[in-house]
């Protein structure tokens, strides 16, 4: 299981030009944490964040999380340190705790939720449009951070397909 997780992580790092955690002990612990979350929740949510166990509410922290790009950009590493920049991969001493970018309101809403939100039959998942760069995302709510231009959730609007 852990080997499969390693493959998953290393493939993703490779495809996105990131590097994996340069601290071997931390790397192993994070992989184990991902495996544990995969087993208890059914998806590999971030080992360093509290998950609710409801996939819709945890979607933004399923590894690789939606905050990774912004965090590697700003700090050279994602929140847990699983993915790092080339610079940090060469200088592991630069690996240190970074602030949590995920808004606490999202975590609190996830922890308050008791079941998955129900979608009525025939109801479509809404599409959200980033007003800054035009990125589109089909999901329950707007992404907390635009993965393309890093604009915050409040810069998203519900996108309406009908133009007529």
């Amino acid at each position: 299981m852990s080997e499969k997780m390693r493959e998953y992580v290393e493939k993703d790092a490779d495809e996105n030009s990131y590097y994996v955690c340069p601290d071997p002990d931390l790397y192993e612990d994070l992989l184990e944490g991902l495996v544990e979350n995969q087993e208890r929740y059914g998806y590999p949510s971030c080992p360093c964040r509290q998950a609710s166990g409801l996939k819709t509410y945890d979607a933004d922290i399923i590894c690789p999380c939606e905050y990774r790009d912004a965090d590697v950009d700003e700090f050279g590493m994602c929140y847990c340190g699983l993915f790092v920049s080339e610079e940090v991969s060469e200088e592991p001493d630069k690996l240190e705790p970074i602030p949590e970018r995920r808004p606490p309101e999202i975590l609190e809403a996830a922890m308050d939720a008791e079941e998955e939100p129900e979608l009525e039959e025939g109801e479509d998942i809404p599409v959200w449009r980033c007003k800054v760069c035009g990125y589109l995302a089909a999901r329950e709510g707007p992404p907390p951070i635009c993965p393309i231009c890093k604009a915050k959730a409040d810069r998203f609007e519900r996108f309406n397909f009908s133009t007529g």
């Binding site: 002990d25 931390l26 612990d29 994070l30 184990e32 944490g33 991902l34 544990e36 979350n37 080992p47 360093c48 964040r49 509290q50 998950a51 847990c80 340190g81 240190e96 705790p97 970074i98 602030p99 949590e100 606490p104 975590l107 609190e108 922890m111």
Partner: protein
């Protein structure tokens, strides 16, 4: 393993509480540092709590750290260290 447990240590000068996640690598580093320093502390593995305990502990954690992130170390109920900040932890506990 209990979600809330007292970890024995010879250094008992401060009341130390650690909010952690059992899966978190940085929390593991924090636990190891406290063990190496031989500090006695109360360890709360938040993800292992049942839902009632989670509600209660969440309020307590929020008072000290509104971002509800882990690890959070609380020393003598007033000094709060968020994240594995080795030097800050040492300073708070050795001073």
């Amino acid at each position: 393993m209990d979600a809330i447990k007292k970890v024995e240590g010879d250094k008992k000068d401060h009341e130390v509480k650690l909010f952690a996640l059992s899966t978190c690598g940085w929390c593991k580093k924090t636990k190891k540092l406290l063990a190496d320093m031989d500090v006695e502390y109360e360890c709360i593995d938040f993800d292992k709590l049942d839902s009632d305990e989670k509600k209660e502990m969440r309020e307590e954690l929020k008072e000290h750290n509104p971002s509800l992130s882990f690890p959070t170390i609380i020393v003598d109920d007033d000094c709060v260290i968020i994240g594995f900040k080795k030097d800050e932890i040492k300073e708070a506990l050795e001073g």
